[in-house]
Each structure stands twice: as C-alpha cells, then as structure tokens.
Amino acid sequence: MEELRAKFINAIAEAGDEAALEDVRIAAVGKKGEVALKMRELGKMSPEERQVAGPALNALKDEINSALAARKASLADAALEERLRSEWLDVTLPARRRGQGTIHPVSQVTEEVTAIFADMGFAVAEGPRIDSDWYNFDTLNIPGHHPARAEMDTFYMHRGEGDTRPPHVLRTHTSPVQIRTMEKTGAPVRVICPGGVYRADYDQTHTPMFHQVEGLAVDKDISMANLKWTLEEFVKAFFNVDNVELRFRASHFPFTEPSAEVDLRCSWADGQLRVGEGDDWMEILGSGMVHPKVLAAGGIDPEQWQGFAFGMGIDRIAMLKYGIPDLRSFFDSDLRWLRHYGFAALDQPTLHGGLAR
C-alpha cells in the first residue's frame, strides 16, 4: 500500500501537462485503476483485514485525489502564466480615436450669463434678427434723424420695387427684444435678451456680427441703485471673485435716462485680467433707467412703472474672462481655435456646480 502511494504521488508530481495527469488519474483512481482493483480485493478479505485495509484505501484514494486536484490547478496556473507571457502588448500605442467635441465660447458664456440672471428672476427672451426700423430705432427713442442712427452703422435689407415701407434692418442691438417683451408681458417684467446683432463695421476690434445680452427689469420701485447692485452681483458671479468695484459714469443712450457707462476696476498683467483689484478701469457695459418714451412704446405706463436696462457684449466678456485676444477669430471656425477655446459638452455652467471649470 505504501508502495502504491509513493508511486502515484510521485507520478502526479511528475505529470508535465493535463493529459499526463489524466493518465495518472485513470491508472490510479479510475474505474479500473490500481486503487479500484485494491478496493475490489477488499471483498475477499476477512472482516478483520477489511477493518484495517478499507479505511487505509479510502484515505489513499482521497490523498491521491487531492494531489491530482492540486497538481491540476498548478498546471492550469502555469499554462495561464505561459499564455499571458505571450500576450504582451505595447500599451503605449495610441488609443482608438474618440472625437472630442466642443461648445463655442459664445454659447458657453450665454449659458453662464443666463444661469446668473435666472437666479435673480430674469427669464430669457428672444427676438428676430431682421427687424423693422420701428422696433430697432423708433420705439427706442431714436427717431429717423437722430445722429445715433447714422452712428450705428446699420445694415439695411433690400426693398423690392414698389415696396414703399421703410427698409427692415439687421438689428443693431438686442434692445428691440425689450420692446417686444414689454408688449407681450406688460409690467412687472424681468428678462435678459441674448443674441446676435449686426453693425456694418469690420476691423481689428469690430466684426459685422457680434453678440449682446440685454437686461430689463421693470417694477414699481426699481432704481438705478438696484441696477448697480444687480450688475455688481453679476460681475462677482461671472468672474468668480468676492469683491468688485463698478464705477458708473454719466453717458447718453436714447433709450435710457439717466444713462451710465459702467467701468470695472481691474488690472492687466501679462494679458491676464484681474477683476476687483488694480488701478485700471475698463468699460464693460452701458446701462440706465428705461426712458419713459421707451416704456410707453412697450405699452407700459411710465407714470406707474420704472426700471432699468443694460446691455453688454457677450463676445467681449468672453474675451475678458477667458483671455481670448481677437474678436474676429470667434467667427472664423478655425479648428485649432475651436478646440483651444471651446468647452466640453458636459461642462454645463450652473451656479451650484460653478460657472467655469
């Protein structure tokens, strides 16, 4: 018996692959294996002999089975090791390509502005890009002879023969949306109106199309001091700074009275803008209290209601915030530019998650 044990344990240890091991298994514990033959001999034994030989044989069978299982596992491990050794790849090879899309800075910044003003209760209003001169000028207290009309570098639409209406214009500002909104909703009202506007001007700092966002808040008691606070809050949130200093400077716009240009305290270092510190003042927007004639043009009684309006360039604040040097490049669709200044699809600006990553 001991001989048998030594023989098979040895054979198991020496089996070089699964096939050899299987041969050993059959020879040892298979139906006709030597252990099985020994088992059969048990029947011929006396009860006393059997008492001793039976358990010993069973123990031998168990031992061989365990050794077989252990050897099988180690052979499998070795085979796997072998396979893995041959499965080496150069993982520094480039990955499969996955397209990286981008969101244009104009869209991104429009959403940032929207998120901030939404929190202050401003809805988003939109209007047509081709508009009548009535909405673009007259309702905004810019009559036909007003020098501001000539200064706006307006694009006019062609008028066909026999069409005697004054030519439509490409809106020179988003202000006509104010009027359309007031007509539609009446007072009180709070909206911002973002969108493309057009002026016939093209040089280093001007493009014939650019983007503005207009703000309008009309209520019983809104004052210019509320305007200043609103803009301060906006600038803080937009530029992600704790302190800002705005300077209101008297100016003139036909559609507001009083009117103010708003300057922002800032510093420039190496082309980087720092808001809220430094000795420079940068003009960022125009604003004022809505002119009584404009309220009236929008169907709102200026004796009962008053409010503020402001307008700023979306492209411009995008340039300031993100350090984009050239306005013209916004509309050139240069892939290098789009990839460099664009934003990831999931980078949606929110107040709770932050306006910029």
């Binding site: 480039p94 390509r97 397209g99 990286q100 899309g101 981008t102 969101i103 244009h104 104009v106 959403e111 929207t114 939404a118 209760g121 988003v124 209007g127 047509p128 081709i130 036909g144 002879h145 020098p147 000539a150 694009f155 639409m157 062609h158 030519p167 009180p188 493309g196 057009y198 016939a200 093209y202 199309m209 808040a217 209520d219 008691d221 004052s223 210019m224 001091a225 509320n226 200043k228 803009l231 301060e232 300077r247 209101f248 400077r249 008297a250 100016s251 003139h252 009275e257 009083p258 240009e261 002119h291 009584p292 916004f330 050139d332 669709s333 240069d334 789009l338 990831a344 699809a345 999931l346």
Partner: protein, 799 residues
C-alpha cells in the same frame, strides 16, 4: 471734440490740476478719449549754452562742442550747421528720451571722440517740422527746464490737448464754453463772465437776405452783415496755434475766425466774399432738385428737392448749415466780407448731410443743435475779431426770419432723484446744479437754456442733477427677488431644446462654430436662398451679401477654410437662425452638423474609413432622441437639391412634417464650394419636433419579464428598391405583443441573387409575457413574420 487746456481756461477760472479736470470730464459724461501733454514728454530737456565749438578732427561736418549745462560743462558732438559758440540750446542729456527720433540718448563715441548728449532741433522734440539746425533760443538760463521756458515764451507749444467723445445729446459741449460750464457746475472752477459788446454798424448792410416762406422751418433765422475794407491774409500766430492744436488747418484770417467760433461756442459761421454775391442778394430756399453746387471741399454736389440752399443771382452759393461754396468763398483778395450766422434745422441738416455724404464741422453741429439765441452775439464777437485781425468797417446787421422760440420748462421734483436714481441729494443742491447749468428756476419750474435742445422732460432734469452730483457716488441696493423661495425654471422648452441639441452634438465629437448670418450670393443660391428679399442693401463685402437660407452653407465654407489649413477630417456643427425671407418672422432655428473626410486619421488599429451617410444618420438619430422625438418616424426621399439624390433621407412625422434630413452632400455643391469630400451632413428643425403632450414627471411603470426571450433569424430576397425599413416594420407588425425588436444585421447584393435583387437578414426577438414559448408557437409566429414580410415587400424567404 478737441480743445486745449489754455483755451478752456479762457472760459473757466480754475486752479484744478489737469488730472482733476480729466476725471471730472469723464465722470460728467464728456468721456476723455485722448490727452496729449507735450510738457510731460519734454520734461527732461534742459537749456544749455555752447561755450566752445571746434571742428571734429576726423569729420568735416561735425563739431566738438563744450556745452554749459546744469551739471557743469559737458562735451557734445553735433552735426548741425548752426552749432557754434555763444548760442543758447536745448540739451538732451544721457538717459533722456527724444520723441522725434524715438531714441533714448546714451553716452557714445563719434569717430573716436566721446559725446555726452545731444542738442535738439524742433523736429527732434516734435514741436514742428523745423530741422535745418538745432534750436537757438533768444533767452533762457543754463539748467532751466526747456518746458518752463516754453510755458513762459511760447505757451502754445506746451498746451495740453484734450479730446473728448461727445454723445449725441450734448451739442452744447461741442463748444469750449459748454465744457467749461459743465466743469463749473461740478465745482471745478468758476465760469468766466461772457463779454460781448454789441457792435454798431456804420452803414446799412449792402447784401439783402430773404428766406422763402416755405423754408422757414428749415432756416428760421439768418443774421448777416458786411465788413468792408478788410485785408485778409494769414491769421496771427495765437489763432493758428490754437486751430493747429485741435487738428485744424489754418486757411486765412477770415476763415479761421469762423472756425474759432465753431469750436469756442458751438457757433458755426460762414463768410462770403461780398463782391462775389451776384445781385447783392442771398435767398435761402428749398432746392428744386438738380441744381449743382461746387463746395469748398472742391467737390460738385447735385441738390435733391427740399435741401436748404442759399443762392444768389447766379445760383446756389452755399449748402445751408453744411458747407459754403467755392465760388463765393473768401480768398486773400477779399476786401468786403459778408458774415453769416443762421439757425438751420437739425433734422433737415442731418438728412441732407447724409444724402450728400458731407461730414463737416458745421453739419456735425447743426444736426445736433446749436444755441439759436447766441446767434447775434456770435455775429458781434466774430465782427470784433475780424476787425481786429483784418481791419474794416462793419455794416448794420441784416436779420431775415425770426428767432425760433424753443422756450420750455419742466417741473423739478426733488424727490424723483431718490426714487429713480437711488441717491439722496439736498433739494437746494439740486436747484443750484440746474441754475449753474443755465436753467432758470421759477418755483418748481425749471426753464431750459437755449443751448440744451436735449432737455425734453422731467427725467432729463433728474439726469442733469445726478450727472453733476456724480453717478460714481451711487451705492448699490439689493434688487428684491421677484418670487419668494426657489426660482422656477426660466428657460422655455424650446430654449432648453436648443441647449440640449448643442451639448448632445458636442458629445458626439463635433466642434461648434458660430458663422456669420450672411453669406455670398452664389453660396446662398446653392442652398435655396439668394433672393432679393434676403439681400442686404449695404453689405460690407460681396462675401456677406445675403442672409443665409441654411446653416450648411456657412459650415461648408468653414470646412473649406480648415481644409486650406491642412485639416482633412472634421466634424463641425452650428445651432442658429436661418432665414427663409426678409421679414422679421421669416426666421427659423436650425441645428446642422457636417462630417468631412474620414472617421479619423490613419491609425495603428486600422479602423478609420471614409465618413458615410450612416455616420450622419447615427448622429442625427442620437440628437433627435435627445430632443425627445417620438419613436415612430418615417424616412422619406426627395429632399432638397443640395443632397445627393440617392443618398439622403428626410426624417418625417407624416409626409408634411419634416424634423430632420441627413445624407451625403451633392458632389456639385462640394465642387462649387471647393470642398474636398466625402462630406455628409444633417440638418434638424427643432421647432418642428412636437412638444411632449404630458408635462408630468412620472414615467410609465416598468414591466420586467422573467420568461426566456427567444431570437430567430430570417433572410429575405427582395428587389433592390425595397426599403429596409419597410421590411423591418412588416416583421415587427407580425405580432406586436410578442415581438420585442427586429434588428437588421445583413444586407447582401450580387452573387447568385441577380442584378436587381438583394438579401436582407433580420433577427426577431420574441419576448413571451404569459408562458414560455413552445416550438409550435415559435413556428406559427415565424410563419406569420414570413407572410407579413413577403406581402409587404414582394420578396421571399431566402433558403
């Protein structure tokens, strides 16, 4: 509007620093655009005296000078012909920046001899074009600052020049006096009293003036007088300096006087040579149209009907309020001058100026509005100056028409400043502000001064008070929230949809572009546009002449530019308006994507390939799904002409409602737009996708089934023309309850099938809901699928 500090001080008594004045101007709404301060630029130059000058041993034209300066005697090599002992000169010592040659002086050796500075010419200090030699000063002490010497001896050279931007509402600030008035109201000094003595004429005015009855609203009043026996010629130095400082070219004394008052008091004047006024009579009238007129700018203009013109017996001599004529203009030979001061209507002047494209200082002022009441004073002040400069004898003043009455008053509500602006300003201060600005107060009523045509209501009074008090003092006050609690959603469903579309496409790997809304006529025409109604009347270039009918035109141009930059593969998209007409409402929202080239650059995995229709289809379907498009859409053909006729599909809800289109672009389009293909694209009309009917957030319940699903494959041979979708829909219709999905996995053409046949293979997935499917159930269903498909397609099961 440009002026100099010394000119300002003729009207304003002030000790304020330049900085304070500049700050106040900007803060008052007279935004300072540019300041030029020569004294600042030249502050390091000092006066020296040449004590010895000897020829340079190695250069004939150079002299070695010993110059006495504030730092003792120093050696300077100089090439100027007038460098000699005894002259008083201006010295730039080492370290001084010399603006005229844009150089900072250092110590140097010139032909072996050291030089410790430079003696300067006027041009080198940008004082004039004079460069014949170095400056020789008639006086001056060694070591004295040159700018101090200039201030004492030639102040115009160191006068600070200030340029401010004028908003259209402030014509009064187009005269130096108006600027001074604003500053005085702010507390920067005191406005000097105006001293204009009436000048009595010695004889009746020999030139008669009449204003036609129908022209009275275009020219309400005309003052004129002749000054006879003048001697014209260059104006004196002080006047020339003043005009030059603000960028005007001195012409002659008579003309310079009129320019002086244009800028001094916003009072444009005109001088005629009285001897050239044919018939000794001027008539102000509306042009009949067609008259021609040779103006002082040497150009000939043709009048349109209604323009305000001034004619003599020979015809039009002057364009009222805009420009005089060359024929009757003053020259050096003029001996009798007719001085004109009139009031021309702003609106008429603006229209005429715009129509004839004349930009003159007179037009600029008349169209914004001058002070009519100052007209007689302007005539007297100009007469006085002409007599001082040119001599002569004045006639009486001839007056045609009547002074317009612009008098009006508005109530000053001192509480209004607080309620509208949010500033607290003492009522007495408010009153004083207005009276400093020239308003006269009569109780609560503020009478508007004649030089402020912009003041047209109570709100204007508030603005004046706040402006002078300074809006910089305004403190922000929180804007009350419009609703209590958490703000509601503010984006409209369509605005939300636009954002989702944008981010969904970017997530698919596309780069967002924003292209111009206008494109060239040829490109617009290729995409169904280019009609006259979408044409711009005044485009800035022919590349931007028509409103875009479709976003793909702009994207293809963008792709073409990128191909020129060496990019061959790209995915571009845009979300924005397209224009199907020229009316405000003829604008619609489009979402467009464009794929060009291959799916990627050559790579180690060898998986890139040319983009094709099914890339565009995958992307358009993904975006449509993100926008909440209903599942049941049709794909129709017969799309617009810019698509490849056989390789595009319109995704529709019913035959009329097109949600999107995808496909390969027509090769002709690529050829015409110079784009290298392959190019596939899609366009989505988000406004056409129906909004979901229900607005509740709850989803329908999810029923999960534990019974085993079974899949069976079928292949059918059908005509080539049969749409796969027809086959899929037919199979799915075999049992709507049991069939969970039908997936097409193979299309095969050729081989033994014959030229006009193809094989389509599908996997049908059956999901039992009640009991596990038995073989005979599956058989029955399979038969039904086959029956439905063969009936719908005319094909047969492939065996």
């Amino acid at each position: 509007m440009k002026f100099t500090l010394s000119w300002l001080k003729e009207h304003l008594e002030t000790d304020a620093s330049v900085e304070d004045i500049l700050y106040a101007l900007t803060d008052l709404g007279l935004e300072v655009e540019e300041v030029s301060n020569p004294a600042e630029r030249l502050r390091d130059f000092t006066i020296g005296k040449v004590t010895r000058a000897e020829k340079h041993p190695d250069a004939d034209k150079l002299r070695v000078c010993q110059v006495e300066t504030d730092e003792g005697s120093t050696q300077i090599i100089c090439g100027a012909p007038n460098a000699r002992a005894g002259i008083t000169v201006v010295v730039a010592k080492p370290g001084t920046y010399v603006p005229g040659i844009d150089t900072t002086i250092g110590v140097g050796k010139i032909r072996g001899i050291e030089s410790f500075g430079m003696m300067c010419s006027e041009r080198e200090m940008e004082l004039s074009d004079e460069h014949d030699g170095i400056i020789e000063l008639p006086s001056g002490e060694v070591g004295e600052r040159f700018t101090d010497w200039l201030a004492a001896n030639d102040p115009a050279k160191v006068d600070t020049v200030i340029e401010i931007a004028i908003t259209p509402n402030r014509p009064d600030a187009l005269g130096v006096r108006g600027i001074a008035r604003d500053l005085a109201a702010r507390g920067i000094g005191v406005l000097k009293k105006e001293q204009i003595d009436p000048i009595q004429g010695n004889f009746p005015c020999p030139v008669n003036v009449s204003i036609d009855e129908d022209t009275r609203d275009q020219c309400s009043v005309f003052y004129g007088r002749v000054i006879k026996g003048v001697k014209n010629g260059p104006s004196p130095r002080w006047l020339q300096d003043r005009l030059k400082a603000i960028g005007l070219r001195p012409i002659s004394a008579l003309v310079d006087v009129t320019n002086f008052f244009t800028f001094d008091n916003n009072r444009p004047l005109h001088v005629f040579d009285a001897d050239k006024v044919a018939g000794n009579a001027l008539r102000v009238h509306r042009a009949a149209g067609g008259e021609t007129f040779e103006a002082l700018d040497d150009k000939t203009y043709t009048m349109s009907e209604g323009m305000t013109v001034i004619s003599d017996a020979n015809g039009v001599e002057s364009l009222g309020g805009i420009m005089g004529g060359i024929h009757s203009g003053c020259t050096d030979e003029t001996v009798n001058v007719f001085l004109e001061g009139a009031f021309f209507d702003p609106i008429r002047t603006a229209y005429t100026g715009r129509a004839l494209k004349i930009n003159s200082d007179a037009r600029y002022r008349f169209e914004r509005g001058i002070d009519p009441l100052w007209t007689p004073k302007g005539i007297d002040a100009a007469t006085k100056m002409i007599m001082e400069l040119c001599g002569g004898e004045p006639s009486e003043v001839f007056i045609a028409g009547e002074m317009p009455d612009h008098s009006r008053a508005y109530r000053l509500d001192t509480d209004r400043v607080q309620s509208l602006v949010g500033m607290v300003i003492d009522p007495d201060v408010q009153r004083k502000t207005l009276s400093d600005l020239g308003f006269s107060l009569d109780g609560d009523m503020a009478h508007v001064p004649s030089w402020r045509p912009d003041i047209l209501g109570e709100a204007d009074l508030v603005e004046e008070v706040a402006r002078i008090a300074s809006l910089s003092k305004l403190q922000g006050q929180p804007l009350r929230r419009s609703t209590a609690g958490v703000p509601k959603q503010i984006l409209s469903p369509m605005q939300k949809r636009e954002q989702i579309a944008r981010r969904a496409i970017a997530a698919l790997g596309y780069n967002e572009c924003v292209t111009y809304s206008f494109i060239d006529h040829a490109s617009a025409s290729l995409f169904g546009g280019g009609q006259d109604v979408t044409k711009l009347e005044n485009p800035i270039s022919s590349e931007m002449s028509h409103m875009r009918p479709d976003l793909l035109a702009g994207l293809l141009q963008a792709a073409q530019r990128n191909q020129d930059r060496g990019f061959s593969d790209m995915a571009l998209f845009e979300v924005g308006p397209a224009f199907h007409g020229g009316e405000p409402e003829e604008q619609h929202l489009q979402v467009a994507g464009l794929l060009i080239g291959r799916t990627g650059p050559k790579d180690v995995h060898g998986e890139n390939r040319a983009v094709d229709v099914f890339d565009a289809k995958a992307d358009v379907e993904a975006v449509l799904a993100a926008l909440g498009t209903p599942a049941k859409t049709q794909v129709l053909r017969e799309g617009a002409s810019w698509w490849h006729p056989g390789r595009h599909g319109r995704i529709c809800l019913g035959p009329k409602k097109m949600l999107a289109v995808f496909g390969e672009l027509h090769p002709k389009i690529l050829r015409d737009m110079d784009v290298k293909g392959p190019a596939v694209a899609f366009t989505i009309w988000p406004e056409n996708i129906p909004m979901p009917r229900q607005t509740i957030a709850t989803r329908p319940a999810l029923h999960l089934n534990d019974l085993q699903a079974v899949e069976r494959d079928f292949a059918f041979v059908v005509d080539q023309s049969v749409d796969a979708l027809t086959l899929i829909n037919a199979a799915a219709g075999a049992d709507k309850d049991l069939i969970a999905s039908v997936r097409l996995f193979d299309e095969f053409k050729g081989g033994s099938l014959g030229a006009d046949k193809k094989s389509l293979a599908i996997t049908v997935r059956l999901q039992p809901t009640q009991a596990t499917l038995k073989e005979e159930d599956i058989k029955a269903l399979s038969d039904k699928v086959i029956e439905k498909v063969t009936k719908a397609t005319g094909g047969e099961l492939r065996v």
